[in-house]
Amino acid sequence: MAKIIGAVGSSHIPAIGLAIAKKQQQEPYWKGFFDGHIPIWNWLKEKKPDIAVVFYNDHGLEFFLDKKPTFSIGAAEEYISYDEGWGLATIPPIKGDPELSWHICNTLVEDEFDITICQELGVDHGLTVPMQLMFPGDPNYGGIKVIPVIINCELHPMPSPKRCYKLGQSIARAIQSYDQDLDVVIFGTGGLSHQLDGQNAGYINKEFDLMCLDKLVNDPEYLFKFSVRDIIENAGAQGIEFNMWMGMRGALPGKVEQLHFNYTIPISNTAAGTMLLSHE
């Protein structure tokens, strides 16, 4: 049976991809952030997971407002990185595992998640930056295959943190009932507190982030009390990307241990969190 071996929380902001392209990892601005990934790099090299379920949001590359889904699941053979319009280099195609994708989709619909199934899916920095970040310099991404899980963080109404956590739980049930011997890691990407637009641009809330991350590890259901509006009031308009971390945490069953944690302010306009979780 497939097994969930742990989870990684990370940022996906484009500036990280640009810094990688410019090889700035050891410059003062970036050193703390990139070095904060060393324990994760080591863990991934040691554990060699077969599959990464990646919770991310599309930022207007593959989805437009004509048809905007709440939750989408990738079910393609591979995922192509496309030009996003402002100069981020594309990366080599990322392999999928359509068979596992369909198994997850079947479970999700049975569990009353009304997903959009994507047999063709271009991917933006939401997915490409974490892949570059987790597998530095490796165009084959450690041989891992991904299952993209896309949560709407652009257009209101958006799903609640609780709903995203429940989505993760259902995905975990699907994986644990999958009849193949695969090791699966969960990636939650995005956030933490930040706001890109409006007079409140540049807003960051360290205290709220640290509270959320602590609860995420130790008492995730505490966070169910926050509505989307609550998150935005506390963490900024794009702070709602925390929903990806909620999905990731929902997919970690049983008792959880935090193996590594890093938190950097600022990376570009955001507070960037880095987290490695294992579970029994």
Binding site: G60, L155, I204, A237
Partner: protein, 117 residues
């Protein structure tokens, strides 16, 4: 009862909801097109004609012409599509942040650094 039924303004924040998305549909569709290089070039060659092609209102056209990001937001722009417009102008997210908040770039960067203290 949706969280969107609470109409209390959030200071400095415009929620991109149905009302905004209706208002900004053409503007965002134009900016969405900028994923394609050919569209970016077409815009650069004749901004006004390109705005007309996407049926922008006169107010929206003016906001685009003035690079008035706050006005674009108020007229229904979504930041994720507007980022592609900013890319054409060679502005990154920190440049945009400074423009929207009326700070210099250095002041804006300092604001971010201070948030970490």
């Amino acid at each position: 009862m949706s969280y969107l039924d609470d109409k209390t303004p959030i200071p400095g924040t415009i929620l991109f909801d149905g009302q905004k998305s209706r208002m900004g549909y053409g503007l965002n569709k134009m900016c969405y097109s900028f994923n394609d290089e050919s569209a970016r070039n077409e815009f650069k060659a004749d901004e006004d004609a390109y705005c007309t092609k996407y049926k922008l209102s006169d107010e929206q056209k003016k906001a685009v012409k003035d690079r008035d990001l706050i006005a674009m937001l108020e007229l229904g722009g979504s930041i994720y599509y507007m980022a592609k417009f900013a890319g054409i102008l060679k502005l990154n997210m920190q440049d945009i942040g400074a423009l929207q908040t009326g700070l210099t770039l250095d002041e804006f960067k300092q604001k971010l650094v201070d948030a970490g203290k």
